[in-house]
Subunit: 368 residues, 2 copies
């Protein structure tokens, strides 16, 4: 059977109540599905995307050279097998690919929210997805899976919607964003906020050159550092130069510099600065203990089978942060509910997007 | 005996020949000394400073609350004992504390060099120091010591001026700057170069507000991340907020964010953006194998006793980079010339400036 890729937008003309106490009066959710929903609606797998990802997780759009961001994982006979499962991936609230975010029209005058967009949290992202699923008659899932910010959403499903899914798979995540990751996000925030072309959020996108906002590119560059590791960079780039004046290597540019330029400038073309600010803020806020007494108290809500996959070289969300979840589940006497796997990888945080062959068997197994 | 702090500027009215093939027609070197030079001039210890440091390594200036950057190491009875040694620390070429750098006056019209300042290397920094020492009648040193960029200078002394000093002590350094560190520097470069107020190097300092250039502050923020570590940040800041609106922690600022703001904005008040660009470029270029066949070939020049001190939690220059030097010395059959010490520290790169009590005994021993 083919992938059966479908891209849709759902509009909700009623409010979304947010954790901050504020509301979105109406909202859109863009999402994508693969496979076929069975009659019992019992074969749903929810895939949660990361900071800069979107609903396009697998397959090709026409005229696109690259498939969705987790195409190696989702498809016929793949770890998330679309012959068996109905897979759904929703662009998160606050993002900029069709779901309501800071640049969406607001109220009667249809002006964009910009900085009037409310602060959003992972709780809100998950709550919005539940609204969509309910509208589709989906009241439970076979599994929820995600990496990085997607792992935060998966854990949020497990804790705040404990009966929604029997299986939760979280990769390269954490139970609470640590100051090291907040510091990386801080660079992006400062760069964007201090960029004169950002104009306190009142930027005119048409006034950007085709590369978008250079400060957003800079924020992304910092992200790229945190997604890699000293080892992966050494292997990938070494000290190679990409340009020399023919005489003196001194004046050349390093390959790693070109990589950062290329990837970050591509990014600023396709992503919105305000969405970036709102989503990294949501990541900073993320802390599963926030509305609980302790990590134990929070995790005691979990009744699903939890599969935690961390990557040794991950310098953004360290393996020990995921291990803390496992330990706490053990302390709670729930060792049978949790499986913790540390993948031997030097790749860094990005491993969950890149080194699929190192962990897709564990995902497959968790889905059996 | 008192510290006997002396701050001086030496002017040289002859050219400094640079590795790039270019010259500085004349140049100034600002430097500081502690202790007393003995008759034989055999008690000289050269202290090399790091990226943002300067010649003021120890003691207090009038009206200053903080002493020099390595005051805990240099003084009466300290590891670098000014009762025995004559200590000299020179502000490096390219810096902005009195030594010739990009904002120094040039030629007849006395306009600043700005981007006409030549690319400089660690080799040039060391060569300039040799010129000063020669002018003081100092043709050899008892020891050369430095951390980070200071360690690069110390290694350069060992390899390119092998007979200058019998003892070389390098802390938190590397044999060649790796892409991970180059990537961090890239963020600072991009931020500064794309800052409209930088004006392609033609900035008017008087037009900056008192905080200096915000992009330089941003570059420094990235630096601060690379100087610390996930563990040290977790211990220092946790997820504490410094401000809340009294109701919702959501909207507060994290302590780690305030730390980065405070330190980086202080920095941009006192440092020059062009100096920062030139010095990080020099760090990127640093590679002791650059003019040699191999690391073996390069290190085979060393005849001094080499003490290498690395810090376990250093994420900028990883311990294994220093260990590579040790291993290569062993491969060369020169194990007797090298001592490698890895300090158990979670502090990160900054440990060489902060956790003195963890390594000052090794420095003391190396100086015996």
């Amino acid at each position: 059977m083919a992938l059966n890729l479908k891209t849709k937008t759902a509009h909700f003309d009623h409010p979304l109540y947010l954790e901050s106490g504020r509301i979105l009066e109406s909202f859109d959710l863009k999402y994508e599905t693969y496979g076929v929903l069975n009659k019992e609606k019992s074969n749903v797998i929810v895939v949660c995307h990361a900071l800069t990802g979107n609903h396009h997780a697998a397959g090709f759009y026409e005229a696109e050279a690259k498939p969705g961001w987790w195409d190696g994982m989702i498809g016929e006979g793949k770890a998330i097998d679309t012959d068996k499962f109905f897979v759904i991936c929703v662009n998160i609230i606050g993002s900029c690919f069709g779901t309501t975010g800071p640049m969406s029209p607001r109220g009667k005058d249809k002006e964009p929210y910009r900085l009037k967009f409310p602060v959003i949290t992972v709780t809100d992202m998950v709550r919005a997805q539940r609204v969509l699923f309910n509208s589709l008659g989906i009241n439970s899932a076979y599994a929820v899976i995600g990496g990085s910010l997607g792992a935060m959403q998966a854990l949020c499903f497990a804790i705040e919607h404990p009966n929604f899914s029997k299986r939760i798979i979280a990769l390269a995540g954490t139970y609470a964003t640590q100051p090291w990751a907040i510091a990386f996000n801080k660079i992006a925030m400062e760069a964007i906020i201090n960029d004169p072309r950002f104009k306190g959020g009142l930027y005119d996108k048409d006034a950007f050159n085709e590369e978008g906002l250079s400060s957003l590119a800079l924020g992304r560059m910092v992200g790229h550092i945190s997604f890699l590791s000293p080892d992966s960079m050494a292997k990938k780039f070494g000290r190679h130069y990409v340009e020399t004046d023919g005489l003196y290597e001194l004046f050349g540019r390093f390959q790693v510099e070109r990589y950062l330029e290329y990837n970050s400038h591509n990014f600023s073309k396709r992503f919105d600065p305000l969405s970036y600010l709102y989503i990294i803020k949501a990541m900073n806020i993320f802390d599963v203990t926030r509305n609980f007494e302790s990590l134990q108290d929070s995790l005691s809500n979990i009744v699903a089978k939890l599969t935690l996959i961390s990557f040794k070289g991950d310098l953004l969300f360290l393996p020990k942060e995921m291990e803390e979840i496992k330990k706490t589940m053990y302390d709670l006497g729930r060792s049978s509910l949790v499986e913790y796997i540390e993948i031997d990888s030097k790749y860094g945080h990005d491993a969950f997007l890149v080194e699929l062959d190192k962990f897709d068997m564990y995902v497959k197994r968790a889905l059996e």
